[in-house]
């Protein structure tokens, strides 16, 4: 059952001089399964939408339902904020992750099992549980935070810029893990990096100034971006493909990997 967002409007600081409308009559349905990509610049409202869908705040107007119920953080929906490694504060990672599960009424054994299995999901050694967050590097901590929120076993998981500030190597690792995890959890992947959205999402939406500007699949997005004269914002690979299209060649502009791009070029040119 999907996440249904109906007529969602959210205004901060209502009736004050600092009033700001972050979301404007959003209608969106996010189906269960796979990865849903959410793209938008800063100020587009994507972080506000994430917070509301995660059940951390009540919308000013409109309704969000998850499987027909309201969103409950840690129960049916989880969220991983940006730079999540900053939020650890306990002496050991284990204590942080245990707190996360304590309120769920599980036994000690069950809690341990769940924590261990989520560490396995992200490919981390169980040893780190006994370490203090101070002694671990950012990449590892981020994966640990990921495991921490997975341990709550939410049906939907919102990831807000999970690869921010990571170098290409760590980034690829995170994306690999997300792909794996998305078989059990529906991921809502928020990013401004279109290459990642292209590589990983089954469906996507683009937000602009508090409104949904586009929903659909990546292939359609590329077409839409060209129509809207926004081809310059697309990843480099796609810009090359579109350039070839302008030369009159029949190539798929929506490739999302180097291999596919090479394939497309070799269909029409002899290097």
């Amino acid at each position: 059952m999907p996440v249904t967002i109906r007529h969602l409007t959210h205004i901060y600081d209502v009736d004050t001089p600092w009033e700001i409308k972050a979301l404007d009559r959003i209608d969106l349905i996010i189906m269960e399964g796979g990865v849903f990509g959410l793209v938008g610049e800063m100020g587009s409202g994507k972080s506000t939408l994430a917070t509301l869908v995660a059940g951390l705040e009540n919308p000013t107007y409109g309704k969000i339902t998850i499987d027909g119920n309201s969103p409950r953080p840690g129960v049916n929906v989880g969220i991983l904020f940006q730079q999540p490694e900053d939020f650890f504060f306990e002496k050991t990672l284990f204590r942080d992750m245990v707190s996360v599960l304590k309120n769920k009424g599980l036994t000690q054994e069950e809690i341990k099992l769940q924590i261990h299995s989520s560490l396995d999901m992200v490919g981390l050694d169980h040893q780190i549980l006994d370490m203090s967050p101070i002694h671990l590097n950012r990449g590892t901590l981020r994966l640990a935070a990921f495991a921490s929120v997975l341990a709550m076993r939410p049906k939907y998981l919102i990831l807000d810029e999970p690869t921010a500030s990571l170098d290409p190597h760590s980034r690829n690792k995170v994306i690999e893990i997300i792909n794996k995890v998305s078989k059990d959890v529906t991921i809502i992947y928020i990013s401004h990096r279109l290459q990642e959205i292209a590589a990983i999402s089954d469906h996507m939406a683009v937000m602009e100034q508090g409104r949904i500007a586009f929903t659909g699949i990546w292939q359609d997005y590329v077409r839409w971006a060209v129509e809207q004269n926004k081809a310059g914002d697309l990843p480099v690979l796609n810009q090359v493909m579109i350039g070839l299209q302008h030369q009159g060649l029949d190539v798929d502009p929506a490739v999302n990997s180097l291999e596919l791009a090479v394939e497309q070029v070799l269909r029409v040119k002899v290097p």
Binding site: G43, H169, V236, L237, V240, V265, K269
Partner: protein, 265 residues
């Protein structure tokens, strides 16, 4: 004008820079590439004296950073723009932010005024002059940070991951301005983990585990990185190599070459 002479630096946590020899000449555009934790951010801070080398010396226009009495001189010659657009703002409005550095230089008010207008104009953000910095987008903030350093007219600007926290549209704009800045004579040291940002550099230095792993022109360096499967290389370069074409670095270059090729399958 900037010289890192056999630098050794160690953090208490154990991370180390070992035996770094680096030279940046006047007007040069140097790219510094490496993974997170390789030590590249440390280098930025070593160059303008925020950090001091444990062994070896850092010299800016001949002045060593160890000479604390001449630190201001060094910082007048070398400006530094940091990664996080939010963590650099002084003052409330854009204008106030730019005024800060110029007041530190002791320039007359008319000159301050003139420079602010000139550089805000250059970066295309003149209309933001009286805006509150906190209301700007990340990309705009970074442009303001850039302006605040440019306005002090240093001989060299170091950019520590200048666009890693900036949205796509402003990323392009900031990168264009960096290239333009260099064309106008300012030396640039561009530090990043993203090779796409460094295609216009004259020289690229790759840092790995505290040492210089590779250095040379972009084509040389990316070629080596690709062969040794070390770090990522720009998409256009990788695509060109895969297709057996010449080592292109820009989209127009690649398209041009593809255009010349015979069609067929």
């Amino acid at each position: 004008m900037i010289e890192l002479d056999n630098i050794y630096f160690a953090y208490p946590s154990g991370k180390v820079l070992d035996g770094i020899h680096l030279k940046v000449n006047k007007g040069e555009y140097v790219g510094l590439m490496g993974q997170n934790g390789s030590g590249k951010t440390t280098l930025a801070r070593l160059i303008n004296g925020l950090l001091l080398p444990t062994r070896g010396a850092v010299r800016v226009n001949g002045i060593s950073t160890l000479d604390r009495t001449r630190l201001l001189e060094i910082r007048r010659s070398v400006g530094l723009v940091f990664q996080n657009p939010d963590a650099q703002a002084v003052g409330e409005t854009v204008e106030e932010d730019l005024v800060f550095g110029l007041e530190n230089l002791g320039l007359p008010i008319s000159e301050i005024d003139r420079r602010i207008t000139e550089y805000l104009n250059l970066l295309g953000i003149l209309e933001l002059r009286n805006r509150n910095i906190r209301t700007l987008s990340g990309g705009q903030k970074q442009l303001v940070n850039f302006a605040a350093v440019m306005v002090m007219q240093p001989d060299c600007i170091i950019l520590d991951e200048p666009v890693s926290m900036v949205d796509a549209r402003h990323r392009k704009i900031v990168l264009q301005h960096i290239v333009q800045l260099n064309r106008n004579g300012t030396a640039v040291v561009h530090i990043t983990h993203d090779p796409e940002e460094l295609v216009e550099c004259q020289k690229i230095i790759v840092i790995s585990e505290g040492k210089i792993a590779v250095q040379g022109t972009p084509v040389e360096v990316f070629g080596q990185l690709l062969n040794e499967r070390m770090l990522e290389v720009p998409t256009v370069f990788a695509l060109s190599k895969q297709l057996g074409l010449s080592p292109n670095l820009t989209i127009p270059g690649l398209l041009e070459e593809l255009c010349q090729l015979p069609s067929g399958t």
